[in-house]
Structure formats: C-alpha cells, structure tokens
Point group: D2
Chain length 436, copies 4
Amino acid sequence: MHDAHADTGPADGAATADVIRQALDGHPAQRGDLEDLYKDLHRNPELSFAEVRTSGIVAERLRDLGYEVTTGVGRTGVVGVLANGEGPRVFLRADFDALPVAERTGLPYASTATAADQDGHQVPVMHACGHDMHVTCLLGALRLLADARASWSGTVVALFQPAEEIGKGAQAMVDDRLFARFGTPDVVLGQHVGPFPAGALGAHPGPALAATDALRVQLFGKGGHGSRPETAIDPVLMAAHTVVRLQSVVSREIAGGDTAVVTVGSMRAGTKDNIIPDDAELKLNIRTYTDEVRGTVLAAVERIVKAEAAASGAPREPEISPIGRFPVLVNDPDATGRTVGALTAHFGPEAVFDPGPATGSEDCGTFATASGAPLCFWFFGGTDREQFAAALEAGTVARDIPSNHSPLFAPVVQPTLDVGVAAMTVAALAWLAPAG
Amino acid sequence: MHDAHADTGPADGAATADVIRQALDGHPAQRGDLEDLYKDLHRNPELSFAEVRTSGIVAERLRDLGYEVTTGVGRTGVVGVLANGEGPRVFLRADFDALPVAERTGLPYASTATAADQDGHQVPVMHACGHDMHVTCLLGALRLLADARASWSGTVVALFQPAEEIGKGAQAMVDDRLFARFGTPDVVLGQHVGPFPAGALGAHPGPALAATDALRVQLFGKGGHGSRPETAIDPVLMAAHTVVRLQSVVSREIAGGDTAVVTVGSMRAGTKDNIIPDDAELKLNIRTYTDEVRGTVLAAVERIVKAEAAASGAPREPEISPIGRFPVLVNDPDATGRTVGALTAHFGPEAVFDPGPATGSEDCGTFATASGAPLCFWFFGGTDREQFAAALEAGTVARDIPSNHSPLFAPVVQPTLDVGVAAMTVAALAWLAPAG
Amino acid sequence: MHDAHADTGPADGAATADVIRQALDGHPAQRGDLEDLYKDLHRNPELSFAEVRTSGIVAERLRDLGYEVTTGVGRTGVVGVLANGEGPRVFLRADFDALPVAERTGLPYASTATAADQDGHQVPVMHACGHDMHVTCLLGALRLLADARASWSGTVVALFQPAEEIGKGAQAMVDDRLFARFGTPDVVLGQHVGPFPAGALGAHPGPALAATDALRVQLFGKGGHGSRPETAIDPVLMAAHTVVRLQSVVSREIAGGDTAVVTVGSMRAGTKDNIIPDDAELKLNIRTYTDEVRGTVLAAVERIVKAEAAASGAPREPEISPIGRFPVLVNDPDATGRTVGALTAHFGPEAVFDPGPATGSEDCGTFATASGAPLCFWFFGGTDREQFAAALEAGTVARDIPSNHSPLFAPVVQPTLDVGVAAMTVAALAWLAPAG
Amino acid sequence: MHDAHADTGPADGAATADVIRQALDGHPAQRGDLEDLYKDLHRNPELSFAEVRTSGIVAERLRDLGYEVTTGVGRTGVVGVLANGEGPRVFLRADFDALPVAERTGLPYASTATAADQDGHQVPVMHACGHDMHVTCLLGALRLLADARASWSGTVVALFQPAEEIGKGAQAMVDDRLFARFGTPDVVLGQHVGPFPAGALGAHPGPALAATDALRVQLFGKGGHGSRPETAIDPVLMAAHTVVRLQSVVSREIAGGDTAVVTVGSMRAGTKDNIIPDDAELKLNIRTYTDEVRGTVLAAVERIVKAEAAASGAPREPEISPIGRFPVLVNDPDATGRTVGALTAHFGPEAVFDPGPATGSEDCGTFATASGAPLCFWFFGGTDREQFAAALEAGTVARDIPSNHSPLFAPVVQPTLDVGVAAMTVAALAWLAPAG
C-alpha cells in the first residue's frame, strides 16, 4: 500500500471487520446468478441514453431486493433507495452504457449487437469499458447490504447512471433534480474495472482522472470528380494534414513535465474512390489536468485546424463544436483515506495500490462537485493475474494487455466480480453507521 | 473545329444532310416529354447495379417505340434492337447509374433519395454525373431513328448500361454474351455530358480518357482508449500520414510531361472521439494514360502504404485490393473523323472542338475493345453559356463551373437536351446506310 | 526524325553540304587539344559570375583564332566577333558557369574544387550541367568557322555567357548593351548536352523549356532550448510541414494534362541538436509552361507557406523573395525547321529527334526575346550509347542515367565532343551566307 | 520552501551563520570587477573544447587568488585547488563553453563572435546558456573562500569544465585522471542560472535533470536536377516527412504521465534551389527520465527514420549515430537537504523553491557518479523580477521569458551575480569544516 494511506485505519463509527465479513458471507450464494447476469449484460450492450433493456433489468432486480426504485432519472437512469434508519446517506454509483465498438474477444458471450448511433448510422455495440461489470458488482453489493441491514444504519442511494461514455449522464441525473428528490450525499463512492491484475484495487487521492474535452471538427472543401482535383478543394487531404499537425500540440507545446493527450478517434470523409467529397469530419478527445494546459491545448487545436483549412484554400472556416466534456475527477483525500483504509483492512495491503493520476476521464465526480460531497472513486483489476505478470516481465503491458475501449477488452469474470462486489460492499460499510 | 477533322466530310454511303434534317424535324414534338422524363430520372437516381426503376422506364419506352427489348443484360442492363434491313450494325450506348452524393443544386427536381450502399450504409444518391441526361437523349434519338426508319437501313442496337460508375457495367453486359445475342457492332457510339458550354460538342481521336485503378486500402492498427495512445497503434494517424505521403507520387515520381492523378476519395476510421479504432480504410482512384506511368504509380502507392504502416509499427501489413478498373478509352481516329465530320456538317465548325485527352475514365470503350469495333465517344456541354463565358473571362472555370461528381453538378436542361438528342441521331445516321 | 522536320531541306542561300564537309575536315587535327581543354575545364569549375579562369582561357583562345575579343560583358562574359563580309549576323552561344555540387563521378579529371558561395559558405564546385562541354564545342566550331572563312560570308558573334545557373547571365550581357555594341542577331543558336545517347540531336519547335521561378522562403519561429519546446516555436517543424504541404500543389491544384514542377532544393535550419533555432530557410524551384499554371502555382505556394507558419503560431509572417527567374524558352518554328533540316542532312534522320517540351530551363532565349531574333536551341546527347540502350531495355532510364545537376553527371567525352563541335558548325553554316 | 526541506537545518560541523556573513562581507569590494569580468566573458564566448581565452583568464585569476592551478585537464579544463588543512574535500564546479547561436539581446556587451564549428563552418557564438555567469560567480566565491580561509578547514577543488554543451567535458576531465590527481570529493556542488526570478534558488532532490540522447541521422536519397524529380529520390522531402512523423513519438507512444521530449534541432539538406541533393542530415535531441521511456523513444525514432526512408524509396538505409549522451542528473537527497538547508537559512525560505524535475540535461552529475560522491546541483534565477511577475500574471512565462539557448537569453547582471556568488559561497561553507 502507498505510504500515504498507511496510517488511515478504519474510521470511527464505521462498520467493523466482523460486520463486513458477515455481510460478505452471503456472496457465494449469489455468485452464479451474478456471473450469468454479467454475461447477459455483456451480450446485450446498449449505447448511451439508449440503455432501455439494461435499466429495465436493473429496476426489476432493485425492486426484488427491496429498494425503492425510480426510473427515468436523467433520461434512462435508475435510482434505488434503501432507507435504513438514521445515519449517513451514501451514494453508490455504477454507469451502464456501452460503446460503438465491434467486439473481437471471441468469448462465448461476446456481443454481436448493432444499433443506430446519434447520426442514424448502424454501428456495432460492445461493453468495451466494463460498465456491465460495474452494474453487476453494484447489484451484488446492494443485495449484501440489503441482507445485512440489521447491522448498519443510514441510507443507501444506488445510482445506475446512463451515458457516461459521452460525459452527459451524471449531469443529466443531477439536472433531473437528483439531490432534491433523493437527498444530499455524505459521500459518493464509485468504482471502475481496468487493465490491472484481477484482485488489485487502486485509488489515488487528489486529481485522479483527467479532464476531457470531446470536440467535433467539420472541415469544408469543395467536391468534384476524383480525376479533376484541380477543380476541387480536397477535404480528405485537409483532414489528413490536420490530424498529422495535431500531433505537434503535445510534442511541441506542452512541457515535458505536464500532461496532455490529444486523440483523433474518428476521421470520416467521402464514400467513393472517384468523388472528392465536400467535407470531412474529425472527432477529437483531449485530456488535461490543469486549466492552463487545457487552455493551451484548446487554443493550439483551434489555431491548427483553422490554419490547415487555410493552407488548403478552404472556402469556409472549419466548425469546431463540443461533443462533451468531463471535468477533472478529484478524489477527496480524507474520504479516499477512509475508504482505502477499509479496503486495505479487508483485502490486505498487498492488494491495494496508488495508481497515480490516469489520463482516463469519468463523470462520476459530477455527483460530488454538484452536491459538495466528498468522492472516492477507485479501480479494480480485471486482467488475468498470470497474463499480467508475464507482460510485466516482458515489459509489454502497454502493448499486450487490452485496455478499456479496445475490441479485445474483456475482464476475466473471476476473481474480478467477487472483488468488485466485495470492494463496493466494504466501502459502503466504511461509511454507513453501525447499527444501533 | 480542330484542323485534324477539317477534311473529314460525310462518309460515302451515310445519310445525307436532308435525311438528317428530316429525322430531326420530329424532335420538337417530343421535347416536353423528354424534359419531363429527364427531371423524373434526376429526381429518382439509383446506385450502380440497382437501376431497377430506371431500367423499367427505359424498357417500357423502348417497347413503345417498337424496339425489341431484352432486360437483365449484365444484371440490370437493357438492350433495345431495331432491325431495319441490310446495313451496318450501330451500337448506341447510354449509361444510367447514379452516385452516392448528397445533391446541393437547389433545383426543384433535385434528388433527396437515399439508398443502401454495398456495405449496407444508407447513403444519399444523386445523378451527379449526368447519366440521366444520357438516357433521355438516347431515348429521344431512338424515337427519331424509329420514326425515320424509311430513310435508313441497318440495325440499331441501343445499350442502356448499368454500373458505369464502378467500372463494371460494360464488362457485365459483355460477359452476359452481348455480342453473341445482339451481334457484333460495326461501330460503337456514346456520349457524355460535361462542364462545357451547352451546345458544344468535343471529341479527341486516340487515347481520350484515362485508365483508372480504384483501390481499397485497409490499414491495421491496434485499438484502445483515446486517453491511452501508448497502449494502441493509432490507425487514424497512420491513415492521415498515408494520405499526405501519397501526394508525393504525382509531385515527385512522375515527370512533368507525363500525366497521373492519385485521389483518395474516401478515408474512414473510427466512430467515437475517445476510442482509438483498430483499423482505417482508404479508397484510392488513380488515373494514367500509359502502362509505364501506371506501373510507376501503382508501385509507389504500394511502397508508401506499406512503409507508412511500418512507420506506425502496424501489427499487420496493409491490404490493398482492387475495387475496379477502367482501361484507357481510345477513340478510333477514322471513326472519330467520320463522326465528327457529320457533327460538324450539322452543327457548324464553331460548335465542335477537340478537348484533348481528359483524366476522366469511362468503360464505354469496353464494348469496342471486346468486339474489335471502332469507337467514337464524344462530350456534349451542359453548362449555361453565359455562366461559362463569365468564368472563362474571370479565369475561374476550374473553380466555379461545377464538374461531374460535384453535389452542384446540374446540366441546364436546354439546349443540352436538344443538342444531345440531335448529336446522337446525327452520329447514328452517319453510320447507318441510306435507305435502298 | 520527327515527321514535322522531314520536309525541311537546306534553306536557300545557306552553305551546301560540300562547304560543311570541307569545314569539318579540319576537326580531327584539333580533337586532342579540345579533349584536353574539356578535361581541364571540368577539373576547374567556377561558380556563377566567378568564371574568372574560364573566361581568361576563352578570351585567349578566341584571340588566337583571330576573333575580336571583348571581356567583362555582363560581369564575366566574353564576346568574340568574326566579321567576314556581308551577310547574316549569327549569334552562337555557350554558357560557362558550374554548380555547387560535390562531384562523385570518380573520373580522373573529376573536380575537387571548392569556393565561397554567395553567402560566404565554402561549397564544393562541379561542372554538373556540362557547360564545360558547351564551351569546348563552341571553341571547336569557332576554329572550324574561322578556318573556313573563305567559303562563307557574314558575321559570327560568339557569346560565352556567365551565370546561366542562376538565370542572370544572359540578362546581364543584354543589359551591358550587348546589341548596341555587337549588333542585332539574325538568329541565335545554342546547344545543351543532356542525358541522351551520345550522337543524338534533339530540338523541339515552340515552347521547349519551362519557365522557372526560384524563390527563397524564410520562416520565422522562436528559438529556445531543445528540452523546452513549449517555450519555443519550432521552425524546423514549420519548415518540414511546409515542404510536405507543398507537394499538394502539383498533386491537387494542377490538372493532370498541365505541367508544373515544384522542388524544394534546399532546406536549412539550426546547427545543434539541443537548440531550437529562430528560423529556417527553404529554396524553391518552380517550373511551368503557361502564365495561368504559373500563377496558380505561385499563389498556392504563398498560401501554403503563410498558412503553415500560422499553424505553427509563427511570430512573423514568412518572407518569400525571388532568387531568380527564367522565362519559357521558345524555339522559333521556322528557325528550328531550318536548323534541324541542316542537322538532319548532315547527321542523317536517325540521329535527330524531337524531345518534346522539357521541364528544364535556360536563359539562352533571353538573347532572342530581347533582340527580336529567332532562336534555335537544341540538345546533344552525352550518355554512352550502350549504357543508354541497356537502361532503355530495362525501363530504368529515369533512375539509372545520371541527369544534369547530379553529382554523377559526366558526358562521355566522345563522340559527344565531336558531335557537339560538328552540330554547332553545321547550324552556323546553315545560317551564314555562302561566300560570294 | 518545500516541506521536504523544512527540517533540514545547518548540518553539524558546518560553518555557522556568523562565518558565512563574515565571508560574504568581502563581496561588495569585488562586485564591480566581477561585473566587468562577466561582460567581458559574455562578449567573448568560445565553443566547446575551444575555451582557450576563457581558460587563460580563469587560470590567471585563480593564481592571483592563491589557488594551485592545473590547466589542460580534459583538454581545455582548469582545476584550482586551495588546500586549507584537515577536512572535507569539496568540489565546486562551473562550466564555461558557449553555443553556436547568433545573439539578439541588443545588450551593449552582446557577442558578435563567430568561430569554425566541428564541421569547419563559420558559425556565430553566444553565451546563450549563462556559463559566463557560472564562471564569474564561482571566481567570486573562490575569492571569498580564500579570504575567509581562517574560518574554515578542508580543501576546495574548483572545476572549470569545458564542453558541457556537447555532454563531453565532465567525462573528459574524469578521464584525465581527475580524482587520482585532485582527490576524491566528499561532495560535488554546482549551480546553473535559469529563467527564474533573479534572487530565487531552486533544487530538486532525486532525479532533477533528464537524460539526453543526441543523435545524428543521415538520410540518403538520389540527387538530380530540380526540374526532373522523377529521376531523383528527394532527400529534402524524406527529411521533412521524418521530422513530421517524429512528433508522434511523444504524442502517441509515451503515456500522458511519463515524460519525453524529442527535438530536431537541426535539419540541413541541399544548397541550391534547382539541385535535388543526394542526402539530408537531422540532429535530434531526446530527453527522458527512465530507461523504459528512453528505450521506447529510441526504438520509435529508429523505426520511423527507417520507414520514412523506405516510403521514399531510399537507395540506402539511413544512418543513426550518437552525437553525445547525458545521463539523468540525480541530486543526492541528503546532500541536497543539507545544502538547501544552508541556503534557506541564509536567503530565507521565500527565496528557495523546489522546481521539480526539469527536462534540461547537465553532465555535472558525472563528477558525482564517477567518484561515488553525493551531488547537489541547484538553479539560481536570472530574470528581472518585475518582468517575471508580469509574465506570470499574464500566464505567458513560457512564451515571454527567454529561456536558456534562446538568442535572447541574457540574465540581468544584478542581483543574479550577487546571489550566485553568495549561493556558491554558502553552499561550500555548508560542507567545509569550521576552523579548528
């Protein structure tokens, strides 16, 4: 365990180790059901704000567990409440949307789903970011908490959030009067599965996940026949030059000691080999940790996009419009200390690490910043331990371990699921009051 | 008129000026109907090998005119035959497919059609290359020829060809035993509307339209989360570098005096801003006039595509596969002399010009090379004369006059249609024998 | 021989075949001396406007031959006049400057010379364009003409021109009152050795060599330490992007049937690995045949250079300044017919070809356009015939036969020299009047 | 002051505050002389291993101060020894070479010097990295230490090191048997002026300056005439594509949380606009902190350089050769704590900060790693305080404050010089023993 957490024991007034162990005793009985649920969710992914089937399953299960259920919170979100006497109001959050990725895991329960995206195109859909695991683990923890309600006191508010991938779901739930309807949290807890060894748990106090700006760039050329480029202004070449030039933002304009990532995740222009199209579209994803670096990157992107269009002789300036935005996710140091302390006490110090700040983004922090509550958001590993160890030995972790959003991303079901359920349960009990 | 044609009068044994004038006398009566037909076809474009509605209209009209009609020749092609005694067998050809372009002409009869393309994506469809005009003009000429059958002798074989845009329709008709079923032509005649002043007619003897190679390039990277490029191999950037690098084929590897065009008409990678995709796809269109230049270009494209993938550290070599191929279209000098002579005699020397070789491609030549018959393929102008003259004055023809395949390409209906009907009629009569 | 020349016999009033044969009889006696002279000139090349040694040798030899000699015409140029009675005034021109190229021919008489260039840098110097051969051949022809003066009448004006490589020498001689001092020519004749088989002679009537624009581009960044690019604006990257982007001028903005060449021959920025320099310099060479294409290219270059600087966030706009300019060289069709006719009569039709227009440039045309006289400028081959035939067979002429300006360019001494002397003699006699 | 230093008071056995104050009392008397010396050195910069004049001045002054002087240590290095009884052997180091930069500060004492570089080219020379300030400050401190010798005990060894800029000087001195001849140090102390407010002092414990790899890349094309690129393989374009592609190493292959800098400081190809040269040369400077990142960057550079040459069809693989290498500079935490403690005690906590790791490199660490002694290397500010504050306010420090190696880099003479003298004196006394 990271030294910074070493002295953070179980907080006063939180559940004891005994309570935790008792609560977890019920897990083996639900393990098979949860594994089936996970595979079912994995096989049936749904895009952001289209999580209709998923939210239906979640709502039904919550009702079965005795939670008071509200659906349609922030369009397709679901809230489940278990009011269990005086005590802290603990928000537990799982996101549940999937991604337009064509799964290539080869798993028996791999997705073959397709759906219409926002532009009406049919696209493949895959749980390539593990949100199916988040849902499964949270449902597992909610059952254990419900079953153990005699041993704790307070209110559990479970948030099943839509549209995390486009950075809009948390805000949508907040905007849907979340706190007015379900109370203000004393703490917000969330977890994310990632390319770490299954069984490992990691949390970083302070800024832990980067800010994201997602931008759409439309470039305007002038279409024509592919054999007569001199009559056209080629937006394909304009887009290519822009993508190439954008590499210099990180390589030349950001100090070595600062962090920024600029990715063009989508580039689309034209349909046919012999038609020079009228325009091209890029989708950019930008990660930063500070306002200064963010400002530098955004200004450089705009400067480059406009100048490359000018270099092509574009008839119109490009249009840059936001697709979505994530703020920096900041883990409250005290809340993280308390939560990590409980996790360490339960799982042992060798299981808990500090991953440092990561360039990923998450809108889970929105529930904290919008309510003023402290946040603790942690990672739990999903990679086969032996595979990870071998890649570590070979120095090929970055290249060989499929990361979130890869068509090959697939957490091993176990021990990932067991640890995810337990971690969420332990963390919740670290904040709920002991019974009477 | 170009000097090379000056001494080419009406050939012996062909229709006299009187016969031609008489035949054309019937045109005013059909003008309104043809204009309506043109607008109807324009409003209802169909993609290559999907010309179901169009071929139905053509077949019905051919039957009404008394032609013997065969449909389904080369999938969706239509052949109409008018056997009218001894004499030459003259093939008249019009192509009738449209393009996946979103029309922006603003015309009252503009297309709003969409259709599924070969990959199943819904795409807009537009007659952006004027094939609707070709069909209309040929149908008009066929009526005049049928009405004038007393004054000529021979056989008219009208070819309504599908899928010219993908370079496959002419070969499909030939492969469907065209010559065995409909005889070997004595001459093949075809015409194309283009960005010249309406009323102008142009033909170039010898190599007149370029060879085309259409290639699909698949580039393989390694997908991942947009925030963690170090775990991925970015195919978006790989594609961008490849497109940029391909510019140097023409600029550096082809002599100034030689001609080559390399266009990347389509570049597609990824769907979402925060996912680095697994692969990218380019569609290339290459124009050349000689085997040597073609070989140099194709070798350079392959070298660059592979090396750029290597520069990115691609896990697999790119795949380059042919989408289609057009040979050089070669106008037979004698046949062109004879045809141009007749056009000049009818329209006057000021109406006929030699456009020189053009970088466009056409598969009409396939009917000639596959049968051993001579070919004459000419252009007829579709641009408003005053607009053209103004652009010429301003030196902005290349930029201001919408060219074929542009979303703004729209021939003025008149005098384009009248001249197209008359040109095809005159040319046919220049080859048919005078009536006994 | 090209058909266009087939019917062009010896012109009336020009030297007969007998006179020509007699004049050339004297050549074997001077052959060894000329070969030595050629090797001496090759070993001692001098940069543009620094041809001090060369002009001294030329002047001395001219005096020995009985020509009236004027030195310092257009800085380092030399004019030799042989007034020989009534008759045409025939200007014969050879250029005599060399290039900043490090010779790699490995010849026993290869250059190892260096000299200070215009910026004061020591650079290697090489006769990489064969001007040493031009000087030698013209001196050989001048001796033969002087020896044969009894058989012709008129005035021979020999121009030994400096600074052809920078496009300034011909203009400098004209500006030095060339025509006022030495009369107006009736014809201007010049020749150039090139990568054709030795013995071959080629001339193209009309526009035969391209216009050249040579430009210097200065790009301004902001220097800094190599480890802190975020404090600098990197002109190295700015220059690289500019060079890459310039490839699209030819590939995208010039029609396939038009001709343009844009070469960046020099790119220089920085001195040390760990210092980001303040600026970068490019030198561009642009070839075109028409004002329209030239205008398009120059505008595109300016647009791209400025936009790429803007994309880099340059603190100042780039500066684009002309280094030099060559107009299109236009061979007068009649004068070319007459000259080629004489060459064909002497060397046989198999020796004379039409090379078509070439993208090279020459300022020899300046003597014609400035005086209103007709011009004939032809090429003579300098490549070993067997080597050329083998490369032709292998299809590797462009890659294997060293071209002018290559560090490997080295005409075979014979028969190149013999043919060059004879061609200039024959051409001159084709224009001089027969003796009384 | 950074918390990590807060509890590090003056070490036992080191000079007291009184001794320090007394020693510094002598400084005002030498201030004017040192300012003159600084300006003289600034006006007369010398390149690496050519510091002849500078070493002469240093040696003479050291002798005047009573130091035992040895010259020619590591070619042009100078060592001065003051043995003053029992006690620690303290190495104080200043580097004294300048850079090939054309000064643009406009200062009255600006350099106009030029010199031949390693390749024999005349280049401008400037003290653009402040080594003149290092020399001046160390000489000032050495005088104060000599004058105060009654109050301390031990041996001061002053190292005036050549050729820091090319990463070879420290190793050259070590290789010249430095430790055998002058003893093994108990500590190595060095300082560097930088773009911080004058008066500020900064030291970072642990890895403080990056590893550097300086590489020369030679790219091989095939020369030819600028008008005939099809006969050549253009190394200018090859170099440009390589420079552009190298940007993706940092932007795509290094994690956001890791640090790497890849700068191409020099790019040179060709001399003339109309000659395509045979080859091109790049000089790269690479900064990293860990072996893993270093390995990733070096492998990516090699992969890209080779693939871009292949994409150009290069006739030979590029050659990549090391120019120089700096290891990571690691400040010993204890030694840094002790030194910073003394500086803090003297200058006050508000003057001392932790700059964090910087991407600059230094070979001063070689004296420590080669001898096993601890190192403390700190920065002292050279920027006008008001100018710095204004830039900080405006958020334009990175762009507006000239950094080391900029042609505008010029420390303000005061208080930079006073603080530099005092800091070196204080630091030395923190390690020397108090007098018996």
